[in-house]
């Protein structure tokens, strides 16, 4: 992304002002630091005060690790209502707020600036320094999707610094290898990944995860959360006892944090052995058929790129590289829901060459 040259100094000044505001909030409210292991990298969250801690850590608690001497990413978070420390005034006008939250002229490929008016949350990420800032006006305005999948605007560019791609996809598998489930919302990703919780397969995410894309692609779990509609819960009644809250003001779905209720069913990473494109058929049986890489890209890229502010052509190239490297399959979902995990497990046991 090309930065507006007029704004180059403005970006530095704004980042510096936000860092000073966090220091002030930290002095007023005290800080607490928690480290997380994402792949082989350490992400450190430093909270000024307590207000944001639960909202931003509940979904990633399964990645928590004992404190390390240093972190690859250091995220500073504070709530204005709790600390009384206001953000510096925006150094841009109203036309600068773009469609996915990015601030025009304040994203130069190294520094990322995003603001979500809906939740009144500012996200800053300085890739060169490995520091990020998150400021929320009031924790109560955070929507369920931010609690279930926190820090998305920061994780996406940070993961890219070590050749990992944040994707809108579910992932299930075993330590020896697993599958990525791709497709737009409603295609069957969540149902499939949630059905696997009642099987030998382990869960790495129902909506988002990260993939290290190289000769041996690996899935990294980001969130232990899940969400399901009434209809999905009726088909998977074991989920009922795991519901933590209902997203009544948003999607209307039940929200789960499986780290709290099914920790043994979670897996943090595994080699990626198959890309599956779920499709509800209405037939009885579940089966897999070979899919074209192009079909997998069209199932994965639009929903990933449309949700990631600052996503550009490089993301499409990385995802295209991925679908060329990993065998792709159509996962035809029948009404026998228990067949879904067994079909995936059987596929993962075999040498995988889709075409």
């Amino acid at each position: 992304m090309r930065a507006d040259p007029i704004a180059a100094d403005e970006i530095r000044t704004f980042f510096s002002d936000v860092a000073a505001a966090f220091a002030c909030a930290a002095e007023r409210a005290g800080t607490r630091t928690i480290d997380y292991l994402v792949g082989s990298r350490i992400m450190r969250l430093e909270f000024a005060g307590d207000a944001l801690r639960e909202a931003f850590t509940r979904a990633i608690a399964h990645l928590e690790t004992p404190a390390r001497p240093a972190a690859d990413l250091h995220v500073h978070l504070w709530e204005i209502a709790e600390t009384g420390v206001m953000l510096p005034r925006p150094r841009w006008d109203l036309d600068a707020y773009l469609r996915r939250g990015e601030i025009q002229g304040f994203n130069d490929g190294t520094r990322f600036t995003l603001y979500h008016p809906d939740s009144r949350t500012l996200f800053l990420y300085d890739a060169a320094r490995g520091h990020a800032y998150v400021c929320v006006f009031g924790e109560q305005a955070l929507p369920a999707y931010e609690r279930a999948s926190p820090l998305r605007p920061i994780l996406f560019p940070w993961l890219a610094t070590f050749n990992a791609q944040y994707v809108h996809a579910a992932a299930v598998g075993l330590p020896a290898g697993g599958a990525l489930l791709v497709g737009k919302s409603g295609a069957g990703k969540s149902t499939t990944s949630l059905a696997c919780l009642d099987s030998e397969l382990l869960f790495a995410g129902d909506d988002y995860c990260a993939i290290r894309i190289d000769d041996n692609p690996r899935i990294y779990s980001l969130y232990s959360s899940g969400k399901a509609s009434d209809e999905t819960i009726a088909r998977l009644p074991f989920l009922e006892s795991h519901i933590r809250f209902w997203d009544k003001g948003g999607s209307g779905k039940a929200i789960f944090f499986f780290n709290e209720t099914l920790p043994s069913k979670l897996i943090r990473e595994f080699p990626l052995r198959a890309i599956l494109i779920p499709r509800v058929t209405g037939e009885r049986a579940c089966r897999v058929t070979p899919a074209l890489p192009r079909t997998a890209l069209l199932a994965l890229a639009p929903s990933t790129m449309s949700q990631l502010a600052t996503a550009d052509g490089q993301v499409l190239k990385r995802l295209a590289e991925l679908v060329r490297r990993v065998p792709c399959w159509n996962l035809e979902l029948g009404v026998e829901i228990k067949q879904i995990p067994t079909t995936i497990a059987r596929l993962l046991e075999q040498p995988l060459h889709a075409s």
Partner: protein
């Protein structure tokens, strides 16, 4: 029109090739496209800075079809590509290395009417604009309970 040539509307439009198919994204509109067979060939030729006349000449060498039909189909596809803002007229000169039509294949390919598959289901997500209500702090909000 014959001498006019076109190019992909970059950086708004990005493409990725899979064998003889292309996936295109218009980042500005949030629309995805799939081009295969004849449509993919036409896209490829358009992006070599070839003029309409040069492209038609090449297509007639490659495909087993009536030249008038190829020309009509190409014009239809070009119209759609322009409407979708996937290509724009090129203002520079055409590709000098492309003056030669190229060698004809030993067997001409089956001609299929070029077709652009369009995926618009992500547009709403991409184009969702926040409502900018600004409070005294200078920061916008869209939720009434956040103001």
């Amino acid at each position: 029109m014959n001498a006019q040539h076109y190019r992909a509307n970059r950086p708004d439009v990005i493409d990725e090739q899979f064998d003889d198919e292309y996936v295109l994204v218009n980042l500005r509109t949030g629309t995805y496209y799939g081009l295969s067979h004849t449509a993919a060939e036409m896209w490829d030729l358009l992006n070599q800075s070839l003029s309409r006349a040069q492209i038609l000449e090449r297509m007639q060498l490659l495909y087993d079809a009536n030249p008038a039909r190829i020309a009509a189909d190409f014009d239809d596809m070009l119209t759609e590509l322009l409407q979708e803002q996937l290509v724009v007229p090129e203002t520079g000169g055409s590709n000098p290395a492309s003056d030669l039509p190229g060698a004809a294949p030993s067997v001409r390919r089956e001609y299929l009417v070029p077709h652009i598959e369009k995926y618009t289901d992500m547009q709403a997500l991409l184009l969702l604009d926040p409502i900018h209500q600004v409070d005294a702090s200078g920061w916008p909000a869209t939720r009434a309970d956040a103001r």
